[in-house]
Symmetry: none
Subunit: 198 residues, 2 copies
DNA sequence: GAAAATTGTTCAATTTCTGAACACTTTTTT
DNA sequence: AAAAAAGTGTTCAGAAATTGAACAATTTTC
């Protein structure tokens, strides 16, 4: 079981399910969705490592424009400091499209009908590649100034930050803030003291 | 075509597809997902009007607890100022469960096997109801200054969400996640149980 | 398939959270 | 400015959560 989170996007539900079944046997988390509009939400919230993306959505359109559109969204407009790897998939042996997609940031390219072993291998490679990139990004945090690159946050830090924010939102009123936070006033009081937020 | 955005959650892919096909004919946007963990991300990002939610996930469990859990997440812990309407669906004619779910904020209740016309009608009603509520909410914003009203988030909710995310980032490894969160493994273990995140 | 890591449990000591209480201070109402 | 209301600082004792240690069972890794 490879430690990677995969998102499959394909509007053909039969294909989607088929891909899902294959990948579920190899990766720890596999999310399969037929609506590409959900891509931004899911990669933002679910920390996806690899997106397996169909090049063609809807019917008539067969030029891969949709795939390229979403590829761009994932790679360049997701707002993430380290976007997931993207493996593109299509039913057509279009070399030109493959070249275009790789140029625009795609990490690999698969053709239907696919070979399961090949599919898993390529996705695993993409996941590994992404993992390395992320580690590099994390390493360079040390020297960075700006905000942090999403390493898991300590629960205490999260709590301290949140309390600070809520206290500010509540105009410094402890009683109100305590109610909003769902803790007793005395607890908030001692937390403020403990966290040095007075 | 009714102007509403519907999210269907059902871990049975066949049922999911079936529901999707029915609703796709009646509503402008229909998102179908089998993994309930995606609910927070999707309703947060996709401006969903109605969630059609299966009461039972996983296998053995048939008491509707999962449905009630996610209902609560949507209605009371989404952090949204105006959460989507929720229509619950189940295979069992359990009146008690229906009453519980409606009490806890469910907007309607549907039983399998469902009648398509009835399904569409109930969802359309829920969408309309939600639309009215939202307009009211918007009206009262009019006099406010800041953009979002989103009330401060409960500490427990914050913690639950964060733990869910970190567990995902850590590939489900409790020991690693606990270290990242800065709590003991046993504590993480009991928190996962308490929060129903296992 | 042996070794290493992780999980599910229990346990008792320790820490934190809780509501209630009460005197005191600040803010709001009249 | 007096009265009323709300909020603060503090204490207390019981309830709840957290902790590290421990150990068998399971899963993962090599």
């Amino acid at each position: 079981m490879i430690q990677a989170r995969i998102l499959i996007i394909d509007d053909n539900v039969a294909v989607l399910q088929s891909l899902r079944l294959v990948l579920k046997g190899a990766f720890c988390t596999v999310v399969a969705v037929s609506d590409p509009q959900l891509i931004p939400a899911i990669i933002k919230e679910e920390n996806i490592d690899v997106v397996l993306l169909d090049m063609n959505f809807g019917k008539g359109k067969m030029d891969g424009q949709d795939g390229l559109f979403w590829l761009d969204r994932i790679k360049h407009r997701s707002g993430l400091d380290c976007p997931p790897a993207v493996v593109l998939i299509t039913a057509f042996g279009d070399i030109g499209l493959a070249v275009d997609s790789l140029k625009q940031g795609g990490d690999d390219f698969i053709q239907k009908p696919w070979d399961n072993a090949d599919l898993i291998r390529k996705i695993a490679e993409a996941a590994e590649k992404r993992r390395e990139k992320r580690q590099q990004a994390n390493r360079s945090i040390g020297q960075q100034v700006g905000k942090d690159i999403s390493q898991p946050v300590d629960l205490t830090d999260l709590e301290r930050e949140h309390i600070r924010k809520v206290m500010s939102e509540c105009g410094g009123n402890m009683s109100v803030a305590a109610k909003a936070l769902g803790i007793s006033r005395t607890t908030l009081y001692s937390k403020l003291k403990r966290y040095g937020l007075q």
